[in-house]
Amino acid sequence: CFFLLFSPIVPRDRHAVWASRKFTSPTDIISTVEFNHTGELLATGDKGGRVVIFQREQESKNQVHRRGEYNVYSTFQSHEPEFDYLKSLEIEEKINKIRWLPQQNAAYFLLSTNDKTVKLWKVSERDKRPEGYNLKDEEGRLRDPATITTLRVPVLRPMDLMVEATPRRVFANAHTYHINSISVNSDYETYMSADDLRINLWNFEITNQSFNIVDIKPANMEELTEVITAAEFHPHHCNTFVYSSSKGTIRLCDMRASALCDRHTKFFEEPEDPSNRSFFSEIISSISDVKFSHSGRCIMTRDYLTVKVWDLNMENRPVETYQVHDYLRSKLCSLYENDCIFDKFECVWNGSDSVIMTGSYNNFFRMFDRNTKRDVTLEASRENSKPRAILKPRKVCVGGKRRKDEISVDSLDFSKKILHTAWHPSENIIAVAATNNLYIFQDKVN
């Protein structure tokens, strides 16, 4: 069976596990969640431009019950609000995406981006410091050389662990429109950043130029019919990437074909079901997230009501379609009014590509087992998530008689939305961001 329960919730407030925040600042809203390649670290970005990195506690004999707990490892301000005076535009500091680089030495590297600027951050530990300088004293004040009578060799002494984050690269001024995606290439030397109309390829070492590899801006902006909504590199083939559009299509491009990949190699589109046509058909078909499977054989896309799995070898329709919350189909007009229809939900694969997960409203999130075709709805909330409690499956009652534990569609809280989730690369540990709270759940191990 499936997802269960779990161990402690780690709230964004690191000071107390159960501290209840009286005033939640809007800048605390989590805007992205990402495990690193080993799953040891979990990074979150928020609307205030901050990045908080959690680290998994190593198992220890002393505290067995704390196995696998994630605690705050580092916090830093990645982006600040900026003002573009030329265009009279304020640039939000909200972190749109974080992507980790694979670890190549003792330090950790991640990319974080807001609407306009991508930054490469180095997160490193310092647990020793040099002591015994000759020319300065312990407080760092310079000593008068005349007072030095002996020389000594400074030694490194242990100190309290300090984790410091330093910006190593700033990739700026390459995007006219809002950046929605970044993706690290499997060559570990390049990455791409995508905005509404263009995708740029960067080399990590070079910040003052980037290659434009996709440009869908029409010569006449009035002819604009679609925008790029997400982009990702293939996990193994460094020449291949996909990007999704607001029209519900996915294009796979091969960078070997030409420098400017405006002509796709593959085009994935499912014909629309005319019986579902409505005013809001375009909006709900817009893809909000696209993710390659770990194997690289499939891609998963999320639109407003469904998650679809596509086989790279079949372009005319997805191989699997999962209804996330089809009961919202009759409520699209209200959801348009309150702007919820524009919410961009993400989707994630588990490590073995057998289960996919995505968020919904009322702090619900859904998992679909691709093999058994079973699905479950779970809720991320403090009331339901005591340590070592088991998450109870939830059910939304669509019509008719509501059973005891079911919740009716009209009672759903649309302000509580789970847009960002992450799955540990190899274990059944998931991170779920519910507005300004981060929940971490793991499969119960007896």
Binding site: E223, T225, N276
Partner: protein, 327 residues
């Protein structure tokens, strides 16, 4: 009628969103505005396609667009829409379009045969069928005539593009199979018979006529009565009237050919209080200038609830701006 009110509501909500987007932090979001403009276009088409006496006087009997047969539309009622009213309740269909518009039509058709043909089909699809390509069709319809028409002929191009057949295509109310009620598309028909009216496929022409009067109705929530036939002089619909929906979002960026995420145009489109529409309308030579000027005074006179139809400039104002003025 419910659809018309629903369409009103959606149009005003959409305009409100576009307006608010200009003051949001981080600048105008191109993606969201594009989506809103698509909804706005669909709602507007529904709204304008609603049968109303005199509404289609603005249309062109010689328009080449073949209205698709109602049975071709396959979409069910869109979400959020009520049940379509029974076709039997439909008011009498309006008479075919007034002759004065005719002369313009052949010109335009000559000017751009291929484009209007494409737009014709597209427009027909939009209104008749549940084609997924409705918004794209609308886009084509916008762009085609604009590119091919010259000056004032641009308007009729769009208009004519929508009417491949003349009044012959019109069938009496309830002439459509009853099943049509259930078939709604991106521009859901208020009744099953709407598809049969050639005039129904005439949003570009109607807006200047109806939107003006409707402005008051919109705000006041009163009955969306259409102007009496012949009571409102028809100006050639502006090409820009079609550009706006896409322009709503796209035009957010349209001003600058260089790399500027210029959002002035979206702001213009929805600027209720005084900004000119010059940016949006600039693309259209001649017409743009007129409208820009017209718009200057329009917004200033706009107060919620006021009827602005006494202003001669409203004739020149495309439906979007008129709606905004009234809004």
């Amino acid at each position: 009628m419910e659809f018309k009110l629903e369409a009103h509501r959606i149009v005003s909500i959409s305009l409100g969103k576009i307006y608010n987007s200009r003051v949001q932090r981080g600048g105008i979001k191109l993606h969201k505005n594009l989506l809103v403009s698509l909804v706005l276009r669909s709602a507007r088409q529904v709204y304008l396609s609603d049968p109303c006496p005199g509404l289609y006087l603005a249309g062109h009997p010689g328009a080449p667009a073949p209205p698709q047969q109602p049975e071709e539309s396959a979409a069910g009622p869109p979400a959020g829409w009520g049940e379509p009213p029974p076709p039997a309740g439909r008011a009498a269909w309006p008479e075919p379009e007034p002759q004065p518009e005719r002369p313009a039509v052949p010109e335009v058709l000559r000017a751009g045969d291929s484009e209007p043909a494409a737009t014709v089909t597209a427009a027909g699809d939009t209104l008749q069928g549940g084609e997924a390509e409705a918004p794209e069709a609308a886009w084509r319809r916008v762009e085609g005539p604009r590119e091919t028409a010259v000056g004032g002929a641009g308007g009729p191009a769009e208009v004519s593009g929508v009417f491949p057949e003349g009044p012959e295509a019109a069938r009496g109310p309830c002439g459509c199979p009853p099943g049509d009620e259930d078939k709604l598309s991106a521009a859901p028909r208020v009744d099953g018979c709407r598809a049969s009216r050639p005039a129904a496929a005439e949003p570009p022409a109607s807006p200047p006529v109806c939107a003006r009067k409707r402005g008051a109705g919109w705000v006041g929530g009163g009955p969306a009565d259409c102007p009496a036939p012949g009571s409102t002089p028809l100006k050639k619909p502006r090409r820009n009237s079609e550009e706006q929906p896409g322009g709503a979002a796209a035009a957010a960026e349209e001003e600058e050919e260089e790399e500027e995420m210029e959002t002035g145009n979206v702001a213009n489109l929805i600027s209720i209080f005084g900004s000119s529409f010059s940016g949006l309308l600039r693309k259209s030579p001649g017409g743009g200038r007129e409208e820009a000027e017209g718009e200057e005074s329009g917004p200033e006179a706009a107060e919620p609830g006021q009827i602005c139809c006494d202003k001669p400039v409203l004739r020149d104002i495309n439906p979007w701006s008129t709606a905004i003025v009234a809004f």
